[in-house]
């Protein structure tokens, strides 16, 4: 099925390839095929229609990119739209100081709620230093609670057990249990039924009101067809979901449901389940699913070809987008956290060869200073609101004042951190632009969902040549060589 479809799209794009100029008919034909591709990938009929319409508009009012063939432009618009449609938000769960932070897991029967609950508990334990407890309020399905209990044992996370058969009471008691024993996170695995079931919706509403969850994650099976929209919409309307977990992505379905759900609920896809083992869960990357929905390696190479052909300005714009959507202050904080996990800085630096530092190993005092500053930086980021962490540009003077007060630092330290963050962003875009290194970091970042810090959050400014001016110099040199 995939091969046949891929052939179709390749052919339709191939017919575009011939002409130097794109005719309206050609665009129409290509869009028709794309629409079919989307429908075959289970993207909702309406979402697919709107999507194609948007592409048509964009393609018509299109400024011409230099060096791009007409058909390449269409491909690029499609790809960009797909990423745009699905991307934008950080996939991390945002926690507060409340004890416990409650995460409700909701969804239809058989979508994979219980397994996902276990996977997320493990993920939080390993990656976010949380101390989770799991509880099941599914008193209906035979052995549902036993299943979660076995899963909890497997991932070595406490399972809250009770004799009660009343979902609301179970949830309430579980919250109390966490408060008494100091567990900071409670994952509630709820009963799954069909969303048209009024009783279940009422029950979920009650559990929500009782436990005040910070996240309500909707579990969706990647193999779901057109009904995905209906169920997601209904769950969102009734209980307000905050994110989506897409399960069974290790199958060969193209997961078009993801696109539909994002489109109708406007809530981000936060995780994807990619296997049966409990660690088989990953944060969500919009670009990967975009590639998968388009579904074809050929298209992918085409897109890569296109991307490299773009002029620099356009590339910068593009990267700005990737940067903004993928590397927030949250990620910045996460990198620090992971770096801290490795142990004390002096220990790490002892392990590294002298050449790594240009022959001069940093002094212990300096390292301690950096470590101290890193701690302060972490405090600053922790004092920001969720919005601020996702978009640092909204941080104005009054917000800075608040952040400084909240973290016990000064406004100038807040400024310094933001400057540093901005610099990291610039460096990342440079690394991405420069061939091999860029690819490597992409892979690395992708695999480890963050990886190591690209730069220490605080570096003494005078020591370090400004990366921007350094890049300019490099360019000048190149030009110089060419002239010769």
């Amino acid at each position: 099925m995939f091969e046949a479809l891929s052939e179709k799209i390749k052919k339709s794009l191939g017919s575009l390839r011939a002409g130097r100029q794109l005719t309206a008919e050609q665009v129409d034909a290509a869009l028709r095929e794309i629409r079919i591709a989307l429908l075959e990938a289970d993207v909702s009929y309406k979402v697919a229609r709107d999507f194609v319409e948007r592409i048509r508009q964009k393609a018509e009012g299109q400024e011409i990119w230099k060096g791009l063939k007409p058909y390449e432009q269409v491909v690029k618009i499609v790809y960009d739209e797909l990423v745009e449609l699905m991307g934008g938000a950080s996939s991390r769960l945002i926690f507060t100081r409340q004890i416990p932070n409650v995460v409700m897991i909701v969804g239809l029967q058989g979508s994979g709620k219980t397994t996902s609950t276990g996977k997320i508990a493990l993920w939080l334990k390993n990656n976010q230093e949380r101390n989770p407890v799991v509880v099941s309020t599914d008193v209906y399905r035979p052995a549902a609670r036993e299943q979660l209990k076995i899963v909890a044992e497997a991932v070595k996370v406490p399972f809250y057990e009770t004799d009660s058969n009343e979902p609301l009471e179970i949830a309430r008691n579980a919250v109390r249990y966490c408060q008494q024993l100091g567990y900071d996170t409670l994952l509630i695995d709820t009963a799954g039924r069909l969303h048209i079931d009024e009783d279940l919706m009422v029950e979920l509403e009650k559990i929500k009101a009782e436990t005040k969850p910070i996240e309500i994650l909707f579990v969706a099976d990647a193999m779901t067809g057109q009904d995905a929209v209906r169920s997601a919409e209904e769950f969102h309307r009734r209980i307000g979901i905050t994110g989506v977990i897409l399960t069974k992505m290790d199958g060969d379905s193209r997961g078009g449901a993801a696109l539909s759900i994002k489109a109708v609920t406007n809530q981000p896809i936060k995780f994807v389940g990619v296997g049966e083992k409990y660690d088989a869960i990953e944060p969500f990357y919009p670009d990967r699913i975009a590639q998968r929905i388009l579904g074809m390696g050929d298209i992918l190479t085409l897109i890569e070809e296109v991307q490299t052909k773009l002029d620099e300005e356009e590339a910068a714009k593009q990267l700005e987008k990737i940067r903004r959507s993928q590397f927030t202050l949250d990620d910045f904080r996460e990198q620090m956290r992971q770096f801290n996990k490795l142990g004390s800085m002096s220990k790490i630096i002892d392990l590294l060869p002298e050449q790594f530092f240009g022959g001069i190993k940093p002094k212990k005092e300096d390292l301690e200073k950096i470590e101290y500053q890193m701690k302060r930086a972490a405090a600053i980021i922790d004092s920001m609101t969720r919005q601020e962490r996702q978009n640092y540009k909204i941080i104005d003077a009054s917000r800075k004042n608040r952040i400084a007060k909240g973290s016990g630092t000064t406004i100038s330290e807040v400024n310094q951190l933001l400057r540093q963050y901005e610099k990291t962003l610039q460096m990342m875009s440079k690394m991405k632009r420069s061939g091999l290194l860029g690819q490597l970091t992409d892979k690395f970042m992708g695999r480890f969902g963050g990886g190591l810090p690209h730069a220490f959050p605080f570096e003494s400014e005078d020591n370090q040549e400004d990366s921007k001016s350094f890049a300019k110099k490099l360019k000048k040199k190149k030009r110089h060589k060419k002239k010769r």
């Binding site: 099925m1 079919i36 429908l39 075959e40 990938a41 289970d42 909702s44 009929y45 309406k46 239809l108 029967q109 058989g110 979508s111 994979g112 399905r141 035979p142 052995a143 549902a144 036993e146 299943q147 209990k149 076995i150 899963v151 497997a154 069909l194 969303h195 048209i196 099976d221 990647a222 193999m223 779901t224 067809g225 057109q226 009904d227 995905a228 209906r230 169920s231 069974k248 290790d250 199958g251 060969d252 379905s253 193209r254 078009g256 449901a257 049966e276």
Partner: protein
Amino acid sequence: MVFWRRKRQDSFSTSVLGLDKTIEELKAEEEKIEKEFSFRFARAIEKTRVSISEKLDSIFAGSKKIDETLLEELEEILISSDLGVSTTTHILESIRMKLSRGQINDLQALKTAIKEEIVHILQEASLSGVSNEESFDPKVKPYVIMVVGVNGVGKTTTIGKLAHRIKSEGNQVLICAADTFRAAANDQLKVWAERAGVSLIQQKQGTDPAAVLFDAIKSAKARNIDVLIVDTAGRLHNKSNLMAELEKMKRVAAREVEGAPHETLLVIDAVTGQNGLEQARKFLKTSNVTGIVLTKLDGTAKGGIAVSIAKELSLPIRYVGIGEKIDDLVIFDPYKYAENLFA
């Protein structure tokens, strides 16, 4: 309609002798049951029917003729029912042909034509000579039914219902719990077995499923069991090692009982999208699926993928799950399915 047509021989003879009932009485009883189920089946998919029919009506009321807008709407309806692009195109092409020949003039005729088209696809599939309980010698015991499918489609629930219905028609049923992978799968099946009043052969989590099946067959023979229903672990169809495990189970069954597994039912969740076709294709290849059970049809999903599967792979839909109660599994009726979709 009798759910399970292969009766246990001894119980069959008593009812044929008419010890308790006359033929008329039996017929009336059957009719009553059938009526009840068709009522529940209709009710289960009613929500779908109303919205679709009303939508078409309102469009037709606007333009008073069958135009492109109406056909486009029709396309949306069919696609939204998960029939898929190719089946939808197939149906619409035949509709367009009939339109151009002037065979369809009003909305009623249009609906009928679509209905006929869908029924045609479904009947074609069920006529393609796939085995059921009547195609084997009743002396071969136990009749082995393997139930397969991807994760979370409702295999265990289906088995519970199936066991109940077959048993209630006077057969000795045994369930084999060969899902040794999923946590608490056995516990869930145990509850269903208890509800159905059927024995269960199980072993601890992680045991080789083929070994459990071997035990179950031995036990079935010893107890003179008529029907053995085998639960298997849910698996994504693209995991070749798990599919190989199914093949092994099949080999074990075939060695122990002539012609086994006599039936292999693929359970498909009504919410499944186009990937359902790929699932069916892979399962058909490795475990020789003989029929489809469409579950969760009482939700809002329409299970159109089953029509696509029937069309592409000539696999009949045998049973339909329409609720959470133990007798909420009925024989699939193509005509009613189509009728209720486009009444």
